[in-house]
């Protein structure tokens, strides 16, 4: 999963570390400093250095008879030496990380991460690393890893635990699955049912896709396999009525969760979107889950946004994540539409679904042991 992104992030991390290490070596070497055209680092305890280049000195001390540039270098150098000797730390400048930041930007874009998410990640990396101090002896790679981890966690949000939600809300919990055609809604519902069953919850499925030929039978087959009851009407029936019956069944039999299937539809089909709005009014879902393919990349992000604007979305489920080498949709979707990812579909078996945990994904992306 997300192999391309993983390997490229590793390359960018090395670049960050290399640039910062070089910056550190320049700090330590006075020769490198005096030959440098402009100071690359900023020392907090040196007011002279924080002034922009070319800014006149506010007051000239009597003993200061040196030309201003020479004096500035001398002060800057002494401040750095003091920083190195007393505080044993060096400061990281924005200029030094600009190259690696651009590389990170390109890597993320190439891996289908949405532009606004890329901006959010690079902005946070810039603000985290710039002006920060590296203590001598600490690992630069750890600093970069931490900054990247924080930036990724920030855009991924908190995630969404369905089981925690079920435990803390009145039953039956009604989950409505929406999305475009062919994204894997029906299979996802079967997987979620199998997952909830394994966690000890009782489940009933409402076969609300009354439009697609064979959808009822497909749902029934899945449900038989995972051992869950399906409420279904004949093909062409009103999906709202099917789902209403599913809720009534759940209430009568003390079922914990109702999983509601709906026909796949594109957001630009007004009549189908109106039908979905009606389903929402009748079914009154606790959670509206938007299902799309991780492999669709940025297209999935755009569609999720459109669906969210049209009928609202509470959580996202990304299918076929095992086929996705880039991870763009997984990283961007929560940040773009402001809704968390609930599950990732990772294969063909019913057990191939994992609750989305941002920290686990980031650890996997960054190659944590």
């Amino acid at each position: 999963m997300f192999d391309s992104l993983k390997s490229k992030l590793k390359g960018v991390r090395s670049r960050f570390s290399r640039e910062i290490e070089e910056s550190f070596l320049e700090e330590v070497s006075p020769g490198a400093e005096t030959s440098s055209p402009a100071p690359l680092t900023v020392s907090e305890d040196s007011p002279t250095e924080t002034a922009p280049p070319g800014t006149p000195e506010p007051s000239v001390a009597p003993e200061s008879v040196l030309p201003s540039k020479e004096k500035k270098e001398k002060v800057a150098f002494s401040a750095k030496i003091r920083s190195l000797v007393k505080d044993r730390e060096v400061h990281i400048s924005e200029k030094k990380i600009e190259g690696p930041l651009q590389e990170l930007e390109i890597v993320l874009l190439e891996n289908d991460v949405a532009l606004q998410t890329v901006d959010a990640i690079t902005d946070q990396m810039r603000s985290d690393l710039t002006g920060s101090t590296k203590k001598i002896g600490t690992s630069v790679d750890t600093m970069v890893m931490d900054a990247l981890r924080d930036a990724l966690l920030d855009v991924l949000g908190d995630g969404f635990s369905l089981t925690s939600y079920i435990d803390t809300h009145e039953h039956p919990i009604k989950v409505l699955f929406t999305g475009v055609n062919g994204a894997g809604k029906t299979t996802t519902i079967a997987k979620v049912a199998a997952y909830l069953k394994s966690e000890g919850y009782s489940v009933v499925i409402g076969s609300g896709d009354t439009f697609r030929a064979g959808a009822n039978e497909q749902m029934q087959t899945h449900a038989d396999r995972v051992g869950v009851k399906v409420i279904r009407h004949q093909e062409g029936a009103d999906p709202s009525a099917v789902l209403y019956d599913a809720v009534e069944y759940a209430k009568a039999h003390d079922i914990d969760v109702v999983l509601a299937d709906t026909a796949g539809r594109f957001h630009n089909r007004a009549n189908l979107m109106n039908q979905l709005a009606k389903i929402k009014r009748v079914f009154r879902p606790d959670i509206v889950a938007y299902v799309d393919e991780a492999v669709a990349g940025n297209d999935a992000v755009i569609r999720a946004e459109e669906f969210n604007n049209a009928v609202g979305t509470d959580v996202v489920v990304l299918t076929k994540a095992d086929m996705d080498t880039k991870g763009g949709a997984a990283i961007s979707i929560a940040h773009t539409i402001g809704r968390p990812i609930m599950f990732l579909g990772t294969g063909q078996e019913y057990s191939n679904i994992i609750p989305f945990e941002p920290a686990a994904l980031v650890s996997d992306l960054l190659g944590d042991e």
Partner: protein
């Protein structure tokens, strides 16, 4: 999966039939995905070939298709500067060599993904084959029972 095919009843046969239909649908969906991927790979391969062949030429002339079967002869003043959409509709300027490298990496990724999808198709086809074999056995058993008046 359904095991224990002895004494197969009509309901079980119906279920097997549904499984078979579902597997067939899955294979069709994967095949469509594979076809789309292959088309994209071929398109990328064409771009790589074009860039490679243009790289050594000084101000070549190419045919630019403008739709409706119409083309224009276009003079390419600079074959080393390529505008490349890297995602999210972000277009960057790259050299010919860098673009070829980027596109070849994409092709490698697409080939790896294609292999994965092909493996999935094979797996589902195997499952479908097993179900079909079980159905055949069940039908044969039913016919045998009918022939013996059981």
């Amino acid at each position: 999966m359904v095991n224990n095919m002895e004494n197969v009843d009509a309901r079980e046969l119906q279920m097997l039939q549904q499984y078979l239909e579902q597997f067939t649908q899955q294979v069709e969906a994967y095949s469509r995905q594979l076809e789309m991927l292959e088309n994209r790979r071929m398109e990328t391969a064409t771009a790589v070939d074009t860039l490679k062949s243009l790289a050594d030429q000084e101000g070549p002339t190419v045919l630019l298709q403008i739709g409706g079967g119409a083309s224009l002869r276009v003079h390419v003043p600079d074959t080393d500067t390529v505008l490349l959409n890297i995602g999210s509709d972000v277009v960057v300027e790259r050299t010919n060599t860098d673009t070829v490298k980027y596109l070849e990496e994409r092709m490698t990724e697409m080939e790896a993904l294609g292999k994965k999808i092909a493996e999935s198709i094979e797996q589902v086809q195997k499952q479908a084959h097993d179900v079909a074999a079980k159905m055949e056995a069940a039908y044969a058993q039913a016919q045998n029972q009918m022939a013996h008046g059981i």
